[in-house]
């Protein structure tokens, strides 16, 4: 299309088409992002109009905030475990459903259901299961694991979070793996068969390498979503018992809105962002390198 027009006309066209989108984007994302960096150098308490510049104090405080680093470590552990379970389960379910099971669409839709509901409500549903239903099953199955609420001890509370996260997201990743399996060309599989490859060899040497793009997408989505976990954390364990399951997103929230240490909270949020960005970009980069052409 003709891109040579007067500046005024260009400006009018730009503003009337991209103007609203750019305006909302700048107001809600860009300005707060920049203002947020400024906030990390102030001692704002959330109420007063005065914001004193305090230099690098908030970063020093962040450095000393062992609860923050613990939460980051905990979140990393949670994310890694969840990503592992989510993708292994989703991959095997996808394999099962694409290997000629009738009613593939029905199963696909069923497994996806938990993803329609927000983390807050899912957390509440499972809270009842872990704290009420499990102990009440103890009379039927007397095993120690069911004796008391899973949410009352740090280890089982952490496990509960991994279970709920895996339960929800594996149904999502399943969709992506299925479309990956279905997308593998019939010719390639036929060729492998003629060359005498058995079922296991075909899966290991043909399907898996061709599924790398699906893995890249699934790992990226499950990793970033597990790192940013907040809603389910809030409703399932509320960080307890004794802050043992308080993930980074929740730590940042309490630091700012409950302890009124907005500058420190914001500095921690920035570090959190950098960690997520580095991990997810590295993972995508490494994954892309392994992609093969069919």
């Amino acid at each position: 299309m003709n891109q040579n027009m007067s500046f005024r006309k260009k400006l009018g066209l730009f503003l009337s088409f991209a103007g609203p989108a750019v305006f909302f984007f700048v107001c809600v994302v860009i300005i707060p992002l920049i203002y947020g960096i400024y906030l990390t150098f102030t001692d704002w308490n959330g109420l007063s109009d005065v914001k004193n510049l305090v230099g690098l104090d908030n970063y020093a405080a962040t450095f000393r905030d062992s609860a923050f680093w613990n939460s980051l470590l905990l979140t990393t552990g949670f994310a890694l475990l969840s990503v592992l379970f989510i993708n292994v389960i989703a991959f095997f379910l996808a394999y099962l459903l694409t290997s000629g099971v009738k009613g593939q669409n029905f199963f696909r839709a069923g497994f996806f259901t938990p993803n329609l509901i927000g983390g807050l409500i899912l957390g509440y549903i499972w809270q009842i299961i872990f704290s009420r239903v499990f102990p009440s099953l103890y009379s039927i199955f007397p095993i120690t694991l069911l004796q008391k609420s899973w949410l009352s001890a740090p280890g089982t509370a952490f496990a509960s979070m991994v279970i709920v996260q895996t339960w929800q997201l594996s149904g999502y990743m399943l969709l992506i793996f299925i479309s990956g399996f279905v997308g593998i060309s019939e010719d390639v599989l036929e060729a492998a068969k003629i060359d005498g490859a058995n079922e296991r060899q075909t899966t290991w040497h043909i399907r898996l390498p061709l599924m790398v793009p699906s893995f890249v997408v699934c790992l990226f989505l499950s990793l970033t979503r597990s790192f940013k976990i907040y809603d389910m954390n809030l409703s399932l364990t509320a960080g307890g018992p004794y802050n043992s399951t308080k993930m980074t997103a929740m730590h940042v929230y309490t630091q700012a809105f409950e302890n009124q240490r907005y500058g420190v909270g914001q500095a921690e949020a920035l570090i959190f962002f950098i960690v997520i960005a580095v991990i997810s970009l590295t993972q995508t980069y490494l994954g892309k390198k392994r992609e093969v052409e069919a």
Partner: protein
Amino acid sequence: MSESSRAAGGHKTLSQVLKIIIAVIVLFIYLFPFVLVLINSLKTKVAIVKTPLLLVDAKGPQWVNYKNAIEEMDFIRAFGNSLFVVGVSVVLLMIFSSMAAWLFVRYNKWLASRISFSAMLASMIVPFQVVMIPLIAIYGAQLHLQNYRMTMVFMNLGFGVSMCTFMCHGFIKGNIPLALEEAARIDGAGYHRTFFTIVLPLLKPILSTISILQILNYWNDYLLPSMIFTRKQYYTLPLAIRTFYGEFSSDYGNIMAGLTLSVAPVIIIYLILQKHVIGGIVAGAVK
């Protein structure tokens, strides 16, 4: 399809039956939490604590749980608030992001287009936690815009435009022939008329994908609305259920009824539009 070749082995029927049985068992486990909430929503507190797995209460179905939940959650109002915020946000989002995407594709040499589009792309890895504190500092503490539904719409748009513009951008670039627009332009239609009569109708597939993704996002959003709406009268469904849960956490029957009520609308719509939802999610994820 890969299915046929893998299924063509010797013990076809036996392994098929086995696979279906496994799939059914796993699916049952996946859906069990929802079933549990549904059956317990009609039971008394005592029955829930003692026999959560029993289908019906010995005293008959406790419809009163639903009555209590609707009243205590102010369900109708919360539902209306959610509907308003989600509806307005999604409609505006689709119009504004498709317009922006069209400009970014057709005038990709303009510096302003390139900068705006790249900034939107890059912003997609920014987690909400990074902008949440400054957002409240600016729009809450300084501009006092909390407790307006339109503030929520405004922020939904700000957080949604990047992803949607990106998706529309790809679609316009790959599927909308320039020749169509040029023909309309030669016939004397202005830029806006060309866009709204020629381009926008052709964007239907991508816009339906976007709307499904965003309706789910906005409908289930908790954290942002919890910071914008501090007054009960504006509460959206997730906020209402949270307050309700806090106040009645030992009234299991009511809680279960409340949870069922908040899950039901989405599930019902899903049952009707299931194919579109799944298709939309796959298309959105692979992008």
